[in-house]
């Protein structure tokens, strides 16, 4: 192999490495490359993230979840206003944190007047994680747990088996803290990972955990079935802040392929040129 040939191959390898490196570097914070309904649960140690403004949240990957009007028989059910919610989730020291953020230009925290409704948000899990319940508040044989936060400070842990069957637990195991700033609500739900009763979702049982979200804009008269809801998503437990493995693997394969193609091409071009030189002399 001549010096020139070696140099060309080295150049190709460097270019390939740069492409590979930059794609991995660019892709890491972007969660969109995951399967559409996957939301990573970051594992941390010693992190108190119960506050919506806790410092630690800035480095937790966020998923953008689309919302649309829930099918419902209540009047004006299609008239909802919130179209997306950002979701982050962390497991740390036996606590499970879910953080929701959404834009709502009106802050409605009082129902003092008969015509006033509060902003609210909810996270829904299967009560029994072995199967996925019907999305609309579960079913009679397949119930759901709902973590409900209301703008007036209400936090409820709910069991439901179909629309209209919402029943709050007498002593909720979920806490919720909320903050409103610059037209954005941030709510953090906290529950211990350990399940404390038969009707509570076991947050520790599987790698993936079905989850769905709902948001109500009180200022728009939204309550009950008049709400913005997501489809079923799933939490994937066991992903660190350094970047999800699925995505890293994907881009690594792509990078290697690029390097190989560049290398083989350069080598082929070099060889072909070498052959011409020999023939012409």
């Amino acid at each position: 192999m001549t010096d020139e040939r070696t140099r060309a191959l080295a150049t190709a390898l460097v270019v390939g490495a740069l492409v590979l490196g930059s794609t991995i570097a660019l892709a890491s914070p972007v969660v969109d490359a995951r399967p559409a309904h996957e939301i990573p649960v970051t594992e941390r140690s010693d992190a108190d993230l119960a506050s919506p403004t806790a410092e630690g949240w800035s480095s937790v990957p966020a998923s953008d979840v689309a919302l649309s009007s829930a099918p419902s028989s209540v009047p004006n059910a299609a008239d909802t206003s919130v179209e997306r919610v950002h979701v982050q989730a962390v497991r740390s020291d036996g606590q499970f944190y879910v953080r929701l953020q959404w834009e709502d230009p009106t802050r409605n925290t009082s129902s003092e007047g008969p015509e006033q409704f509060v902003d609210a948000a909810a996270v829904q899990f299967p009560a029994d994680t072995s199967s996925r319940p019907p999305i609309a508040m579960g079913g009679q044989d397949n119930r759901v747990n709902v973590w409900y936060w209301g703008g007036d400070g209400t936090t409820q842990e709910i069991l439901a088996g179909g629309a209209g069957s919402t029943t709050p637990f007498p002593s909720p195991a979920v806490d919720a803290n909320a903050a409103y700033e610059d037209g954005t609500w941030t709510v953090v739900y906290t529950r211990s990972v350990a399940s404390e009763s038969a009707n509570r979702t076991d947050l520790d049982s599987t790698d993936t955990l079905d989850v769905a979200f709902a948001v109500w804009n009180g200022g728009n008269g939204e309550r009950a079935g008049r709400k913005s809801v997501s489809e079923w998503h799933y939490f994937l437990v066991g992903t660190g802040p350094q970047g999800p493995p699925y995505q890293t693997l994907l881009w690594t394969v792509a990078g290697i392929a690029i390097v190989a193609v560049v290398g083989v091409t350069a080598f082929g071009v070099r060889r072909a040129r070498g052959g011409d030189d020999g023939g012409g002399s």
Partner: protein
Amino acid sequence: MSTNEETNVNVAEGIDHQVAMVMDLNKCIGCQTCTIACKSLWTESGGSEYMYWNNVETKPGEGYPRGWEDSGGGWTDDGSERQTGEIPSREDYGRSWEFNHSEIMYEGSDEPLRPREGAEWGPNWDEDQGAGEYPNSYYFYLPRICNHCTHPSCVEACPRQAIYKREEDGIILADQERCRGYRYCVEGCPYKKVYYNAVSKKSEKCIFCYPRVEGEGPDGETYAPACAEECPPQLRLVGFLDDEDGPIYKLVEEYEVALPLHPEFRTEPNVYYIPPYAPGQHTEDGESVDVDRIPRQYLRELFGDEVDQALNTIERERQRARQGADSELMELLQHKNPAKQYRLGVFDD
């Protein structure tokens, strides 16, 4: 809806018997004793202060809550679909006013006792205002409670079945355990007789004094709702619509002189009214003329076209009584025997 097996009366499906009330508007003096009887029993505290499960409003007038007749709810004309409604604002119900008691009592102020500010509307704000021009101005009082309807749009409106019509007597109750304060019943009731309690965050309403009706008091006796029993002119009859021996059945079903309010809402109320029978108009000189003082069209708007027939029947029977003939209808409308006026134990087993 089904016809009760034992009577010819339509009661709601699955309901054994239907409580009912007849109010004779010709007897109402607007004293609000019924209002206070109800309030002191049920709505004195804990977020219910602003509520008047029983109110008496002057008609024509805005009513309580203000403009309730135009607030939507009820059913479409064929009774098949609910109409959307609006939830009245706190202002429409009327806020409680703060008075300058402390200035006058303790600070020596000699200004008159009066609300400090914000006294711009309240229940009965337009009392006795009515309509028309002297000497033919007119008004009458309209006492209102929940109508415990046969086709209740409030019940249909609730996505949780928290508000329900109970089987034994058709009284409509808001289950305080099940209610989550969504207020679809508040907007769905065209009479605006369900109220939201901002303290308990649940909706509440007239319970037809069911503990009294059931004889749950200390003496174990059955009593009519407090609004009826406490009424000084005793203008209310209480019983069951399907009690064919009772005065309510006769007034509603036989003589057809007791009419539901706003039948066009299609909720089929079980509170009925004997329409007001006002004297005719006067000339400037004070002579009576044969012209309705209360425009008949206004009464039709309130009670439907059946009001014409009802008033004709009353007029006919009055003439009979004047001429010395017996008139069961006039007897019924004058009856003072409480045993007949309040017939509540008739279906007790």
